[in-house]
Amino acid sequence: MIFWEIAKRNIRLHFLRSTLAMLGIVIGVVAIASMGILGNSMVSMVSDSLSSVGDSVIVYPYTGGGGFHGGGGSSDNLKITDQQFQQIKRVVAPGIAIPVHSTSERMKVGVSKDYIVASVYGIDPQYLKDLNFELTAGSLNNANSGCLVGSAFAKDNNIKVGSRISMGTDGSKGTLRVTGIIKERGMSFDISTDNAVIATQDWFEGTYNTGKYYDEIVVKVKRDQDTANVKTIIEKQMNKRDKVVMVIDSKATLASIYETFGSITAFVTAIGGISMIVAGVSIFNIMMMSVNERIKEIGIMRSIGTQKKEVMSMFVYEAAIIGVIGSVVGGILSLLAGYAISALMLQSTKYLWTLSTVSSIAVGVGFGIVVCLACGIYPAWQAANLNPIDALRHE
């Protein structure tokens, strides 16, 4: 249609001005989309490094202070007694309560002279299946002096199935033989295995004389149970008079972590949005200029029978052309910018090729087009509603 043609020609006539306005939109789209890509990549990275155990409730002895009590072990005498464990076991049924000992220890691998320090867990082998450990080598059959090790620990110390680990200073805590290597699980709320040694409960109790006093109880809930409910049941049962345990619902904690990252993503994207508003102002400005320069032309058009909506469409087309070209170019560039920012800030670009990247770009491009149209509508409306007689007289 002729108005589309006129809009195109007017952009070509004012090429520099239109290009600068497009550049503003390009910057706006790149800012929004690349910030979205960065945020989403960050969430993907975090969720990759967190073991996605959504079926666990972890019970720690109450330490008096708030906060997350890590699985590395509490060195003080705050423990969960066997009696408390039995109570927990009863109330969480049919969920499975797993008692866990933990500490950290100096150790030597094979003939190495250097000591290393790692977490050591003591877990009854009958529960290993319930903890869903996947092995890359060996088997779960953990005899008394056998142990499992995490994949990162195995890799760093060149450990294979059959390797021996001398525990404690000068082997004071005996020797463990590696029977299996656990696949990488990431940071976890229950047991972080990647850099740990998993020994048997019997070995742990015999070696450290802990007796039946545990550092944490991991509760694996059944499919028809809800982690939040199980948490409440445990708290009700155990903290009747005094607060003796602290209960962490892994699912809720994961959800709140994702929520936090979601908020961060939204925030940085909103900062990108500011540049889009600036771009919108410049579009508004050039559209007003375009209208003011063409008042007489609008008057002629109106006098020879052009309807208001046709005059309006001509200016909306102009804003739309700038918006679509600017936004699409911005969308392409934001993929490059997202790549660069991810490589720079996250040292990884493997999270770039995801659906969320596509949606970030789509949001950026869509927002760019909407801003352009919104900023073009008022000038277009003003042009359409000029009094034809006044417009014709305009010099």
């Binding site: 249609m1 002729i2 043609e5 006129i6 020609r9 007017n10 006539l13 007489k296 032309e297 002629i300 058009m301 109106r302 006098s303 020879i304 029978g305 052009t306 309807q307 208001k308 046709e310 034809p388 007689i389 014709l392």
Partner: protein, 219 residues
């Protein structure tokens, strides 16, 4: 076209201005009329009313049996597009469009889509414009050539009335005479021509003159 006791009042802070007062006349199909009067006499207001760019404060205007009072903006715009051709003193062609596009512009408005340029060429030939200029832009043409294009644009939708505002006011006398001969020719072929001018020589081309002074028709 029928004007019946038409008045146009512009409300101003210093008091109402009656630009036209009690104007009544009739223009029959095929007439060639010139409207003359000094500056500020109400000629432009009269032309705006005849061109449906404005509506009267009092009285009625009828064009081809249609009363323009109470018509909506969309209806008035459609009336201008389909029944009235405008020719301006300063030609007022669209600089972004070439000659053929300028001429076919009102036709595209009417059909709502692109049109066959052949019809534009036909009308341009009828106003005796050199065929080599058809694809040029308006700024590449002389004043006389531009006015011929403007006349072609005004004629493209076969209007009932051609309204001309000082059509030769911006041309030298020889070119102006050429344009007036063209208008006479069009009138001879049946087009109603109404022309505002203050040049008696130009008014002589018309068959009837309406003189206006202080917003009133004078005998």
């Amino acid at each position: 076209m029928l004007f019946s006791d038409v008045a146009k009042v512009y409300p101003l802070p210093a008091g109402d201005v009656r630009a036209l007062d009690g104007v009544s006349f009739r223009v029959d199909r095929g007439e060639f009329i010139s409207i003359m009067g000094p500056s500020g006499s109400g000629k432009s207001t009269l032309l705006n009313l005849m061109g449906c760019l404005d509506t009267p404060t009092e009285g009625d205007i009828w064009i081809s049996g249609t009363r323009i009072r109470d018509m909506s903006d969309t209806e008035l715009t459609t009336l201008r597009r389909d029944r009235i051709g405008f020719i301006f003193q300063y030609f007022n062609l669209f600089p972004l469009l070439n000659i053929i596009e300028n001429v076919t512009f009102p036709m595209m408005l009417k059909s709502g889509r692109d049109v066959d340029p052949e019809r534009g060429k036909e009308v341009l030939r009828a106003v005796q414009l050199d065929e080599k200029l058809f694809t040029h832009t308006p700024t590449e043409l002389s004043g006389g050539q531009q006015q011929r294009v403007a006349i072609a644009r005004a004629l493209i939708n076969n209007p009932d009335i051609l309204l001309c505002d000082e059509p030769t006011g911006n041309l030298d006398s020889k070119t102006g005479a050429g344009i007036m001969e063209l208008m006479t020719e069009l009138n001879r072929n049946g087009t109603t021509v109404i022309m505002v001018t203050h040049d008696q020589n130009i008014a002589n081309y018309s068959r009837r003159t309406i003189r206006i002074s202080d917003g009133r028709i004078v005998p």
